[in-house]
Symmetry: C2
Subunit: 619 residues, 2 copies
């Protein structure tokens, strides 16, 4: 029996007839280009091939699917394409390629398509001898009428920028059709309306490690493409502290600034061109980045961020001329730097909170963005507490003997099967290292099997003999590096192991995050059982197995079934800010809702930190 399947991705819609009982993955296999990533090859192992059911029905989730998706995720319609089967007519939505879902209402509906920076087509009335008004006045008048007709929010622009006066004088003549770019109450550029001119926006998630840019069409809301690159400043150091040190060196700030400006500029240009547009079609950037990254982009010395009491130069939302920031060559483009809360809870977190709408959500939500600094927010419509923990880079694979980032060949999942420890790698490639989610899975498995005890001590050779041979076979000689304890091999052939020191690093990292959560919940006067939702943001959050995280004490176990993986929420917030004034203003509201908690000065945090150092006993 055939069923009809509609597949939505951004503005693209595919319709197809599907053989009954096909998996969704099989059904969409014919679509070009390949539209769903399924790293495990559709075996129901990796849990990455998420799609969203938006109409009709699919098969009920089986046990495997229920293990790989949280109840909250299933509740909002998320499914795994390899496991969900077509049992009737259905309409599904694909996320952007390579991105996890943002489980929030985005600005996709045309009602919310109200870009803060936009290209407005106007034909100002002609001047006459009887009414010798100036070009600026007639342009602003025509623009106010046009914006009113479009139902645009906010006040109409009140002035034309100095850089746009030349264009104004040259082109505002004889009723000609003009394209004017407006932002922040002013007109940035005026030029004849080019045939085929488009207005594009770029949402930028400017991370310390990665820069992700997403191009959108501001007239239609269509997602036109995205690109991700390692931050070109990485040669100056891996984390924000080393970047800040590098910026203090002579000419360091200038070098870091131009490095990131050039990178974003070239990513923007390439994205525009591959969307069949021109660089000059870019009218806005909305940039979510941590506080240090935004300082470096703006060319502002960030050194006070690294010293107590951690005072950044600026945190408020800024709208700058993108040409002045070196992001484009043309005048008619604004760069919006999104607002941050503090030196270590930056615009990336605020954009993520705004994307989710946490500042207006009912109930109590916990939000985690796990990276070198684990940023944590807790609250809802009544206000948000937030903090940053110095978790260290263990969960990014740094400082771990065989650690690696989330690259092909990285061990990203580890589990116990028939009394043996098994692992999977990204892309099913031969194991080349262990990434953050693999480390957490492995620790959970080691704890379950008794290879690591609840103090974090790895069993010695003597103790290992008491274990079943399939487990004791994993235990190898120590490194003699003073960290003590033997090695636990995941892949002896390729020499991939976890050392005692690696376990200690993971313990410190998870203790910092868990203690941060404890402290915020304590200030709020609630227990972890009172938390309605746990949003996991960031790339690492997308890969994390929440049950393993709960097993090692990184997350409260009560929340394992209340997790919503939101992926790159910062980037989604940035894109939303390009598309919609109200979503941009949501960033300001989210920021205003946040009260920052400085953990380093709190005795209760230190106490919780020490307490959380242990692994939970067997449940």
């Amino acid at each position: 029996m055939m069923h009809s399947l509609r597949v939505l991705e951004g503005k693209r819609i595919d319709e197809m007839e599907v053989e009954g009982d096909s998996s969704v993955l099989e059904a969409v296999a014919g679509l070009e280009p390949s539209r769903i990533d399924a790293p495990c090859g559709g075996k129901g192992l990796c849990g990455k091939c998420r799609i969203k059911l938006v109409g009709g029905r699919l098969s009920a989730p089986d046990a495997r699917e229920s293990r790989l998706l949280s109840a909250a995720e299933l509740g909002v319609g998320l499914r795994l394409a390899c496991l969900a089967r077509v049992e009737g007519d259905a309409e599904i939505e694909l996320s952007e390629r390579g991105e996890a879902y943002i489980v929030t209402s985005g600005p996709e509906s045309s009602a919310e398509l109200d870009p803060p920076v936009r290209l407005v087509a106007v034909a100002p009335r002609e001047c006459s001898l009887e009414d010798q008004s100036d070009d600026e006045a007639r342009l602003l008048e025509a623009m106010a009428l046009e914006l009113d007709r479009q139902g645009a929010g906010g006040p109409a622009p009140a002035k034309v920028a100095l850089g746009a006066l030349q264009g104004l004088a040259r082109y505002c003549r004889g009723g000609a059709a003009l394209g004017a770019v407006i932002a922040d109450g002013g007109v940035l550029s005026v030029a004849p309306l080019r045939p085929g001119a488009r207005a594009l926006g770029l949402g930028v998630d400017l991370g310390t490690t990665t820069v992700v840019c997403r191009l959108v069409d501001l007239a239609t809301g269509e997602r036109l493409g995205s690109a991700s690159e390692l931050n070109a400043q990485r040669s100056f150091g891996a984390d924000v502290i080393s970047r800040i040190e590098a910026a203090s060196a002579p000419a360091g700030l200038e070098a870091l600034k131009s490095r990131i400006r050039t990178q974003i500029a070239s990513m923007a240009k390439a994205l525009a061109e591959s969307a069949g547009a021109e660089g000059a079609d870019l009218v806005s950037f909305a940039i979510a980045g941590n506080t240090t990254m935004l300082h470096l982009l703006a060319g502002v010395p960030p050194d006070a961020i690294a010293r107590s009491p951690f005072a950044p130069a600026f945190l408020s939302r800024r709208t700058e001329n993108a040409a002045e920031l070196g992001l484009v060559q043309h005048q008619g483009c604004a760069a919006i730097l999104l607002p941050g809360v503090s030196a270590y809870v930056g615009a990336d977190i605020v954009a993520g909170l705004a994307a989710i709408g946490l500042h207006e959500a009912a109930g109590r939500s916990l939000f985690l963005d796990l990276g070198t600094n684990g940023e944590i927010a807790f609250g809802g419509a009544d206000g948000i507490l937030c903090c940053a923990t110095a978790a260290g880079p263990a969960f990014e694979g740094a400082g771990i003997a065989k650690g690696t980032g989330g690259v092909v060949g990285a061990i990203d999942s580890v589990w116990v099967e028939d009394g043996a420890i098994r692992f999977g790698t990204i892309g099913d490639a031969p194991a080349a290292g262990i990434c953050g989610s693999g480390l957490i899975d492995a620790l959970a498995a080691f704890l379950d099997c008794g290879l690591v005890d609840d103090t974090g001590r790895v069993v010695d050779a003597e103790e290992a003999r008491a274990l079943p041979p399939r487990l004791s076979a994993l235990v190898g000689e120590g490194l003699g590096d003073g960290s003590g304890g033997p090695l636990l091999f995941l892949d002896r052939e390729r020499g991939i192991y976890i050392s005692q020191a690696d376990v200690r690093a993971a313990q410190l990292a998870k203790a910092a995050i868990a203690a941060g959560i404890d402290t915020l919940l304590k200030i709020a006067g609630v227990g972890s059982g009172d938390v309605d939702r746990l949003y996991l943001a960031g790339g690492f959050g997308s890969l994390l197995d929440v049950r393993s995280a709960a097993r090692i004490g990184l997350l409260p176990p009560e929340l394992a079934d209340r997790v919503i993986v939101v992926g790159n929420a910062s980037g989604a917030g940035a894109v939303a800010a390009c598309l919609s004034r109200s979503r941009l203003e949501a960033c300001d509201r989210a920021r205003a809702a946040c009260a920052y908690v400085e953990l380093s000065s709190r005795p209760d945090f230190n106490e919780a930190y020490i307490e959380r150092m242990m692994f939970p006993g067997l449940s």
Copy 2:
């Protein structure tokens, strides 16, 4: 008997004991440098040595003084230093050197000292671990408190400009005393407060022919100096139309722009240095110029100003970064371009109207700024009608055979004495030419003596014989240039004469102005007798003998005794705009009060123009 005389000039005060019955000019002769200009040497002829009585008393004006000053001028305390005698204790005020009085309440009173751009000394509170607010937030908070303490008008700044963020990050630390320059709701620069730092403003009257800059101390209101130069763009043409043509040539706009920017920048720097300050102490420019000059300064093509329907690109007040306009090197300086009414009634006129307060004056005032374009405004608190007449350059000495500007040796006054025609020159130097006021005086004298008839025809040799020999001796051979008529010699020895063609040029110029006045009065529905005051602005207005002007029909004769010479009202308006927010806003209000009347499209103007071509008959 000795009397006490206090002499005020700006912030300088001299006190002296004076022998009773000395003239004021004699009394102040000992002051260094020479403080009063008396071109005729104190003979009571030129009427230029004006001072203002502000307290005590002087001798009552005699007949000569009453002839040289209007009743309105005498009414506000203006006197001639050579004729007024010290008869008791008195306090007098000297105008700035070389400037005529602005007979209005200026922004000198400390109550009005509220500069729109100012240097604010603040010491933002320190950041703390408990309150990790950003530098920007703490600076703006400290600034709001300080501005409130100072009783400053307007909203406190809400953001720090991109260019000032570096300074903010470097210096906003540890409670340091900072100097921040604020303008237009934003902070332009932040730096440690220099010892001896001052905040200086420059009022600029940017004329087609002349650029006048006046430096003021924004903290005290003190006038620190002024400078006047011929506009460096003059090599591109004498009038706005030829400048506009030059700007249309390849690279022409760029050349004109940089010429005037460089000139103002160097005048500003030199003035600051001669006041013992630094260029970096300049925090504001307020620039009054005609619409074309402001376009060229901003680098905006002015060509539409020269073509019907005469649409300039911009007219509204603008606040720009002075460094971006190339006027200074440092960041902390704003350039305010004052607002204009139309292509030919520019910011110079608006600044003049605002300086006088014509837009809020009781009764009916007429305002004339005579130059190549004679701009005319009429009205008061109920609204202002304004127009521009193409008077031509005759009154500036251009297009007149022996014409010259107001330079040393220019015949600037002509009168009939004992049946003979006599003249005076600027600086009592040998006659070198005739300037505008001399031309008008000469025509009035020629009309009175019958050397020119009321149609403007110069008597021929035959008719001259009927005149007394002292007059007929002035008549010389015609030029044979087709203009017909003989020459009327003022100085045969030096070959200085007025030709028939010169008379015709003056006729056209005065007809245009008189017809402009007629048209505005007609639209307002009043006669010239209903006008309460006639303000004469501009350098030519200061030299003009109003009785001669009335004699030749340039001004309504009823107004001769209601004239108030206001000198460089544009420049005064610009200085006032630097010193006081309310005086700056007065420019916007004056502009808004103005309704522009396009004369070229009005049949009644053309009729009045033809009618006013004749000279009035003998009264």
